[in-house]
């Protein structure tokens, strides 16, 4: 697989991953925008950092109505983020980053602040505007996996970065405004609170491995000998699915070739099952949960999918109990939704 580093006109890198070498000359590029300088404030009530990136509200409203900034720009009448005729997987810095290393600090009396250092990248899965993980050739998903691994290995080495999380928001219900298939990578300057708890849990005990028999027999949606996709028995969303290797591995970088193949298949089967279940592109939030370091012998890598649905296709809204108290209320049992989703696995 090939990786091309193309320096954009704002001196930042656009990465192109592919099965063949990318040699095309660039067409016209987007005008550089101001590099964001976000900051964080400590929320003492929640004991967590909140990041403020107020340039985000200036996200340009682009001229032509059907403008897709993630399509190959050279084919269109206007520049896009990717100034080429074609590409396979493309990754570039988010123009309105919530985390971005810089030296411009702000101080607020009585409120703890910090630069919101780190990185935010956009991962474009395909040059085709209407592709999704469900329809892509399997090779493309393997290429995406390869690109994620590249980003893990590179970003985790950088100072200012303590945790890397690739994720995808899919569907308007999950806040997506650009329909071109893409995800994001957030490289945080701290371990995010959700992950901190998970790291601590895995340090005590590999609850995933301990549960593996139960998952394989009762909660699975799809599995082969390397990988399982299952509704966890303690799911917080009705149709929550986790995809995990059957042996303990810190992150996708530790997969062998067979596991990579299994993982790509499982990933596609899960998205296809969601779409078949919903009878349309199913909305979800999907995130990779890997260890905070390349060498970690406790953490068990997995992907979590949260479709914002409760019983059947009714939306689950996180209201009083969930948002205000942090207590999830579920209408359906994971063992039931596992059966429902299993029927949609092809």
């Amino acid at each position: 697989m090939y990786k091309r580093k193309f320096e954009r006109n704002d001196k930042r890198d656009l990465l192109l991953f592919g099965y063949s070498e990318h040699l095309e000359l660039p067409s016209k590029q987007l005008e550089p925008t101001e590099i964001p300088k976000p900051h964080m404030r400590w929320n003492p009530a929640r004991q967590e950092w909140v990041t403020y990136s107020d340039s985000r509200k200036n996200r340009t409203a682009f001229p032509p109505k059907e403008y897709c900034p993630l399509c190959p720009g050279a084919n269109l009448d206007f520049p896009t983020e990717i100034p080429f005729k074609d590409f396979e997987v493309a990754i570039f810095p988010n123009r309105w980053a919530s985390f971005n290393s810089h030296n411009q600090s702000i101080t607020l009396k009585e409120v703890l602040t910090k630069n919101s250092n780190g990185k935010c990248e956009v991962v474009v899965y395909s040059s085709k505007h209407l592709d999704t993980i469900a329809q892509m050739p399997l090779d493309r998903i393997k290429l995406l996996l390869h690109a994620w691994i590249d980003r893990y290995e590179e970003l985790l080495k950088q100072k200012d970065i303590e945790y890397v999380m690739p994720f995808e928001n899919r569907g308007e219900e999950c806040g997506v405004t650009l329909h071109h298939p893409h995800g994001q990578i957030y490289a945080f300057p701290f371990i995010p609170p959700v992950i901190k708890k998970e790291i601590e849990a895995f340090k005590k005990d590999n609850f995933l491995l301990k549960l593996m028999n139960k998952l394989e027999n009762k909660y699975y949606v799809y599995q082969d000998k390397n990988i399982i996709a299952a509704v966890p028995p303690f799911a917080r969303y009705a149709y929550e699915i986790w995809i995990a290797p059957k042996r303990q591995l810190p992150g996708p970088w530790a997969f062998n070739d067979e596991e990579k193949e299994s993982f790509a298949i499982a990933m596609q089967k899960v998205v296809k099952a969601y779409d078949s279940f919903m009878g349309k592109k199913c909305p979800y939030i999907m995130g990779l949960h890997a260890a905070p370091q390349i060498n970690d012998s406790n953490f068990h890598f997995h992907i979590e999918f949260y479709p914002p649905l409760r019983y059947e296709d009714k939306p689950k809204i996180l209201a009083g109990s969930e948002s205000m108290a942090g207590v999830f209320v579920m209408d359906v049992l994971p063992e039931e939704t596992a059966i429902t989703l299993r029927k949609h696995i092809q």
Copy 2:
């Protein structure tokens, strides 16, 4: 103020709070429904309880389309939750409770479970279907405050109950399907994770009192000498507002009469400001954060409002960073939204 305890046909209590004694004879009652027996499962990844109440999915689809189960039943052609011609504030057990004390336990191998004991109550603010906190007479808000205090004092005494949280979800964006003005009270058998953090924070340090000068000068939306309504400088929602007494008090039960009056006024002014800002009934999640015990000398009572809006009237959707990592990303600064909202205070 008066409180009537009316035993319903399911042997559970409907409470009626009013400035005059409620003596009306009941009209026809709703058929009793099965008393729910929810259970909890421990989510090891998040280190939190998830509650499963699978009878919730059977929530009756009531016959007439315009049926409001929270209206006074005696005026209608069908029974409702409140079998009277009129009432002021009414509270009754939620038929599809997420927490409900019972003795029927379930066990799951490899997954920690517990009965989802506790109580869930529905609080109806008015007999008028179209009322809201913005329009009610101030006396009604004081009566509501009185009813909340009654529930705190009574529920906190019960075994199985460790924390009491009254809250309100307002607007369809927050999952509301019944438009009749109402809130809920969740009485949890454990301290909810969000509150646990807050209790620990206040034990270390009263961050609200420490911040009070800043709030009074820069972040306030409304205040008088007893009460302040402000956008906290570490807000997670653009238009988040906290209402808090200016002195440390564990809960609304510790208010003196003047503070009660101030609080009711502040509460109404905040909801009115939201509605004026939005130009319509503004959606929000609102919750009372009081101490876990009546006598607590650390916790600082306050109400939090989370309107699901980001910059201007665009919805803020909790996606990858918020849901998956627990990290909130903000487009606007609290000091700016405080100024915006202050202009709408009447």
